[in-house]
Amino acid sequence: MSESKSLSDMAPKRRRMMDMVLALGGLKEEAVIPLSKVSEEIANLKTELEPLAAEILAFPDAYFEQFLEATESSDIISRIADRGLLKQAISHLQEAVSIRDTESTRGLLTSINTRSETLEGTDDIEEIDTAVDIDSLLSPVSELITQIETVITGYETNAKSAAEEASSELETLVASISEAVSGIQDDPASALDALQKLGTKTRYGPFLRTTAQVKRGIREGRIDETRALQLVSENIMLELRRGVIIFILGKMGSRTVLEISHLMNARSSDIQTAIVSMIQRGEVEMVGLDEDAPVFSRVLEAIPASTLVFKRILQQLNGMGKSLEGDTKSSVVDSVKRMEPLLGRLQKIGQYDETVLAESMNNLRETVDQATEAVLQSSPADSSEDLRLLVSAGLEAFARFRLKITLEKGPNLVSGTNVYGEKLDPEVYERMMSSYLDNELERGTILILIRELGAMTAKDLGEKTSIPKNRILQHLLRMKRDELLTSPGESHGYLLYDVPRTPTEAELTIETASSLALQLTEASSEFESLLQDLKAEDIGKVANALETLSKGRDTLIKITIEGNVVGEDILTGIEEKIRSAVSLAYRTRAKIPSTRPKVTLDDLAEVDVPSVLDEYKAMMGYAPLLGFGTIDWNLSKCLGCKSCEISCPEDAIELKPVVEVSKFFDISDEELDSLPVNRALFYRTVKGLAAQKPVGDIVLTDDSPGFGTVEVDLWLCVACRTCVRRCPGPDEGALELELKWNLPEVVRQITSQN
């Protein structure tokens, strides 16, 4: 029975019936599996798994022991600066320890905890020695920029070679498309099929949806031929064009319209139209200029944090430049000038491997941060921490464009007028400015706190600052939208906010390892407990637990500390064993199609259904079915009145819009005489007009009162006989119920229907 696989997808009524059949004894599946056979299979699996189990269960602990050693010897944990990440790791490990407390996980937890506490301890920002030489602080900047430039050039080379690979794929695609297009005029439907196949390669959702809709419309006859032709040659082609553009931008990098039209061998005006609509759909954005031509790129789901960091450094430098003088100023301005095109190039590349960039990017960030601190040193040494924070917040705010514009424009508006001749009321301006300043200073404070103290929730910020909570939330949301903040996770149900940071290799390692520690602990403890008393219904859980262990191993082998794979021998040693355990579990699962007890059809012949109905009700919690039966329908007595369908309490009987017209000619004269007069007259008139006997049935598009074929869904029928009693047809009516308590007979009928 194919139904058993989708027991949960069935209509409720059908499922209820299925439940009953299963509960009463079970159904014959592809092969009958007696209960004894099931237990045998399970026993086999247990014997086969047992020798493997010990090692499989031991491997996570063994691995994390080595991992702990490696972290201690390399001191990688002390290199982690991201508090949000640490918090996340701690919570993962705590959960793992609560499931199974092993030395290795606890050790890892302790060292991460220590690191986290150390970082918390540095809450008080160290006093910086007075009078720092800003010039010397900034001196490494130029070198760092050169480093970054080299990395970016590397990215571009990679992207270029990837683009070359993609271009041959593209050529084939474009060629096949133009072939398919040539067939549109003759046969839009099959051209549509061909296009759909090609378009699938672009994985462009709107194209796939539109094609499916049009196909359905054509199939259901809602779209006529001319309309279909028009839709295929215009709308579908437009969507396809968009799909190919996404393909190009995704695989070959950002491009101008001309480049795309050249690649696609299409008119540039078509591409232009497509791009404009894609911008509106939020799929494509303009990322820069090539000469005068705009360069477009896909809208990325998330901009790499490093790009955001780079952008922020640039803004910071820009802001700093304003408050400096002389050579220092010009060197900062130079750096800014060099960085601006680099930012453009990064944006054009889109996604890239951030770790390569991490070291130089973080160095640059630290340098620039220190320089910013140094610039702040103009404040007296005895100033309070709050004041220092406020001033840096102000600087932070000034580094951004928003406030600058307001500050520059405001006074002009108060003294003069704007282009519309409106004038700003000084009082309003004052109010506006003070609220602006408040806002910007608050935002600056939040940013600085997060940058220095790590990811924070709105609640943490509320405790650390005096800003009202709802305003904090407002600021956080606003800054998240402006890409100044990201939200890396949750802490105690609050959303964590963080400034974009480039994760270092150490951070990535700890993040992955801690989350895997949890997964593996969960899986192995489940596997262990299942194995103790292996039951047929747990087979799925066993397979899933083993699958998790196997996938975890595959991820662990990719983790390196200082270039070395940790616990390589453990992981390779276990590889084969896990894999065979997984396939053993799957194989056994395949042998047991369902975990319910099975009996043969022959066994069922002995079941006295009425006698077990009470038991059934007690077991299932709802009333039993009234019985089973088959319903025969006799066209020659049917009036097509739908009374059976209307009266059926279970929606099991239906008048289908199909006219078995050839059977009209088999109705005997006696039968005609017993029919109501007009019904008989109708059949007689049809026969009297017929020049040939019809072959086949008439399929009507809609329900037509008076005409149709009665069909019974035996899955739903409860043999209540209401339809038979209601049928107004002549004599006993057009329907006849044959009650059957012989379950195998019913099953046979049901299965032969499918």
Partner: protein, 706 residues
Amino acid sequence: MKLDYEFLEAEVKKLDLAGSVTLHDLGCQDSGLEAIAKLIDENEARLVVAACTSQKIQPRIDQYLQSQGKDPSRITYVNIREHSAWVHNDPSEASKKSLDMIRGALARSVDSTSIVSEMKEVPAHVTVIGGGIAGVEAALSLSNLGYHVTLVERESSVGGHVVQLPVVAPTGKSGKEVFSGRLNALENDKNIDVMTDTTVKFVEGELGSFTLHYNIPDDEDEKTLQTSAVVLATGFQEFKPTMMDEYQYGKNPNVVTQLELSRMLTEGNMVRPSDGKPVNEVIMVQCVGSRSEDYKRDCSKLCCTFAIDNSLEILERNPDTNVQVVYMDIRVPFENEMIYKESRERGVDYIRGRVSMVWESDDETHVRIYDSLLNQYLESTPDLVVLSSAILPSDGVAELSETLGYTLEEDGHIKELYGKLRRTETRRRGVVAVGAITRPQFVFEAVTDAQAAALVLHNELQGGKIEKVARGAVLDVDDCVGCSLCAQQCPRGVPLMIEQTDAEEEDEAQKILFKAAIDILNCHSCGVCQSLCPSGATQLNFLSNSQLWSEIEAVLNEADSEYPITVCFYCEECSVSTIDIVGTRKMEYPASSRLIPVPCAGRVSIIDILKAFEHGASTVMIAACETDRCHIGGTGNEIAQVQVDVTRDILNAIGWKGERVDMFRMFSAEPDRFTSAIREMVKRAQELGPTPVHKGTAGKWMEVTE
């Protein structure tokens, strides 16, 4: 463009069915009418009038004969002017067509029955359910028309929602003022009984004798009341948005609905409900529940105006109040635009956007508003949040429909019979619906509605005399097999299926037995039931099956493939108007067409179509009203479509060409659509050649070997 009358006279005289033939130049003038009256006397009132359109001549003849005390109901009309003489160039062809159609009318006339319209005295009493502005207005109008009226109101006093309004746009008067005149009239009107605190349970019966079952307080027994017609004026109810968590309605006392604010204003109680402090800042939220897929899909039409009315009233009382209206679109119909302008001038602040949440802290109500024009979130701490919530039909409308038999719209309002011409009527004769129960309505609309409905009822009741027997479907209970097709498909829901419990007890096969019951007073004579009835149990009393079949046979006398004939069944609603316009505009079309009138396209059954082919028609068409515009009640044309579709498929299956039959829809003044339709069918008749009937192969299916 004329007919050969000598030929017609001579040929008709030859027909067995025609007793005598009289040619008269001025049938509709006094001399003609006198001649007709004479012929009626001589021929047991059976007469065929072949003249101009019956739309013009029939009312005249009817009036004349009725004034003479004679029966005009057995006259059969043939239109040989607009349907023949004026539309065909060749007089001999047109005369032949006219002759065929006269022959058909003669055949139809044979079995014509006399439909005597007797008057039945009914009580001149109408019950109005609902004592709001619409109900009171309807009661007063009916009383003025001479009816005795019972006004039933669920609440303890009449006035409904209107008396709660502080100001009614655009009058500037308060709801109480608007109502006061009517209230006085109501008190002084001896013809109106007002029953307050009364709940209607259900109403049964038919026009002229409805029985209203109702309850009064402190008495558990159900009371009944006899009445001749029912006015439904149960109005609307305001949606209570307690389940919309974002507004805190029902949890925060300072969040009220617009109607609750109206009540506060009317009662002069404009303070914060939570603590009685003054209200200085008000935020109104529009479209709460309206225009939402989850609650009410449509616009509620009134709320924008209500909100503006109330905000102006607030400013009137305390000009320093700050009123902000958060809206999606402001929709103020009619002259209410003026008060919208006024409100802007008076400083009401309009914010386009939505309220994202309402919460409380420090004893303040906080509101966060998303301003979609500024793309910004604003926050405010108003004293009062007013929700303009959706307007829904009042409770109990669906329950009453079970026995009163009117239909409901998807949104629960009562469905009007026909949007253009029969706005206040429901599907049930003698039941009208007025005011906000049919759709959200402004005060003046509800008043107009009520006045119109009073006149509609007056037309039906005629001061207490209704037609007892009318044109319509008559059921022969003995022939009814109980299949319920008529009850399922009747556009008016007239046939009721009655379970035959006595017969069931005796039935050996435990059959569930039903018989239909048709109340002819509610019937609008479309003939859908007749077309579908498998046993011929229900038939129109002016067009029985045998009448139509003999007309078909007579019209198609000697039809052959030499001169292929196209039969056109046309409905006597939109199609006849269109075909008459074709005639008066003298638009030519082929004369091989033969027109047969039916009251509604739904009267044409598959057997009728097949009969036409059996008697030699080459093509058959049905002319019907446009989709959704079936005047008889909405679905007659669709039933006809089913007959045509099935005939077509069957013809194809039995070796005919399905294109020989088709259906065409037209509005009442689209002559081009009719002429192109009939040209198409005549063209098909010529192109498809002889039918199996002409060739003699029809019925010879047994001899065909594949």
